[in-house]
């Protein structure tokens, strides 16, 4: 029993002593909501197509479900209006300060987005949904020694671990394949139909030597990131390298939403977010993100 108690005390101390993550969470929330808003606006032209497909494939929604709210018969005539209002809510949440009820509302909208585009989603859409879910537990105005401070740090830690887990699984999956060892898989990637953007990918990318080097760089990055990112000396190199990596994926492999979602997650790994905010606001709003503990 005392072991459990001491474990729980260690966890509490660990989470309480974490550095302030309020500024990171502030920008992370803005980026995540902005990304959802962008996606919702950009896919709007195909809203009717997807709505028709889902309602046709699944039939009339009988039971109540938050993730299928927009498919309720009552909304079937107002889908465009529903989507428009949802966009306004997400836009408002991006601009306004964080409110728990608003975070829950955005999560419901995100669940509906996933239900609507479920056959056209990738890991990026699911990751974004998970980020939106995690933001429900966040309080950007948390003060040290408060329970919300612990919850903030636990949320940031979980999201960071999740990003590391995604990298590790991808790296592990690749290192098991001999076609990744000799670069032949990379050659196939550059020829992949409906993914590779041949307007942007230079021909020399398919050169066997370049593919071999790229394969190993990708595997080393994906397997190294989960372990090295926790050291501040490595972090300042890994964050820009990772951003470039995801911009490349977004542009060359037609996964713009995945690339941007990962880029948004990198905001949690940036060390000097609070300082950037303080400088930008001339110290006036500094207390909001770097609050002094109450006496």
């Amino acid at each position: 029993m005392s072991r459990v108690q001491s474990f729980l005390t260690d966890v509490e101390t660990g989470l309480m002593n974490q550095k302030d993550s309020n500024a990171n969470l502030y920008w992370f929330r803005k980026a995540v909501y902005l990304l959802l808003l962008l996606k919702m606006l950009l896919v709007w032209p195909e809203l009717k197509t997807f709505y028709h497909h889902v309602t046709n494939a699944q039939g009339t929604i009988v039971g109540f479900s938050f993730s299928k709210l927009m498919f309720l018969p009552i909304f079937s005539s107002f889908v465009q209006l529903w989507w428009g209002l949802a966009c306004i809510v997400v836009a408002a949440a991006t601009v306004l300060s964080a409110k728990r009820w608003l975070s829950i509302l955005i999560f419901i909208i995100s669940l509906n987005y996933l239900s609507l585009f479920y056959l056209a989603t990738n890991s990026g859409d699911k990751l974004l949904n998970f980020f939106i879910f995690s933001l429900i537990f966040v309080n950007e105005k948390a003060l040290k020694q408060q329970v919300s401070w612990m919850l903030n740090n636990a949320t940031v830690l979980l999201v960071k671990i999740n990003i590391c887990a995604v990298y590790f699984l991808n790296g592990y999956g690749k290192i098991l394949k001999s076609s990744w060892w000799d670069g032949s898989f990379m050659q196939k990637v550059w020829e992949l139909e409906y993914y590779t953007n041949l307007h942007l990918v230079p021909q020399w990318f398919s050169n066997p030597t370049v593919c071999l080097v790229t394969s190993w760089l990708v595997m080393l990055f994906e397997l190294g990131f989960p372990f090295l990112i926790w050291f501040s000396t490595m972090r300042k190199w890994l964050v820009p390298i990772g951003l470039i990596f995801h911009i490349f994926i977004a542009l060359f492999l037609s996964l713009p939403d995945f690339g941007l979602t990962m880029a948004a997650a990198y905001l949690l790994f940036v060390d000097k977010m609070g300082k950037v905010w303080s400088l930008k606001n001339n110290g006036n709003k500094k207390k909001r993100f770097n609050p002094e503990p109450l006496p």
Binding site: H52, S123, H199
Partner: protein, 171 residues
């Protein structure tokens, strides 16, 4: 209150560790069958997936279709290519999502058709979903008198195509 929150946080991390471990094949082999779909759902929820790892996902397919309506056959159309071209030339994300939907629906019926035969495939709900989407989105919501589909697999080196699936259907 603080202790309760700590227990909750520790529990969440413990469950997350199990979800992460469930992604490994050797762990899946140890899991009871009834739990596998639950863990799959959990992995989907947290976005734990792999990209560019499966050899099967590297295969390229092209679907062509034509309708028989107004007493004649229309021209042959490609299903996936125009939408992807629209995305790369105009950056239209909606077209990319539509391309993904078309690709998924087409490949699903090919898999069913090749496994169970055309008759069984045409009875499946996946086929109903495919034709319903095709008529709604690619034929101005009009049911044709007949439909013909050809699915080809594309190869790069040497650049060839092989017909892997074709059928005619009268709605």
């Amino acid at each position: 209150m603080k202790r309760f929150v700590i227990i909750f946080i520790a529990g969440v991390f413990a469950v997350y560790a199990l979800v992460f471990l469930s992604a490994f094949v050797f762990v899946q082999k140890l899991m009871p069958a009834v739990l596998k779909p639950k863990f799959q759902q959990a992995r989907n929820f947290v976005g734990l997936g792999t990209l560019f790892v499966s050899e099967a996902s590297m295969r390229a397919y092209s679907t062509s279709y034509r309708f028989y309506q107004d007493g004649k056959w229309t021209d042959w159309y490609f299903l996936e290519e125009p939408l992807f071209e629209e995305y790369v030339s105009k950056g239209r994300l909606a077209s990319l999502k539509h391309n993904r939907l078309d690709k998924y629906l087409s490949q699903k019926i090919v898999r069913i058709g090749r496994k169970s035969g055309n008759a069984q495939m045409m009875k499946s709900k996946e086929f109903q979903a495919f034709t319903s989407h095709l008529f709604y989105s690619h034929n101005q919501n009009r049911k044709p008198d007949s439909l013909q589909i050809i699915v080809r697999q594309k190869f790069r080196q040497p650049e060839t195509v092989k017909t892997i699936f074709k059928f005619k259907y009268q709605p």
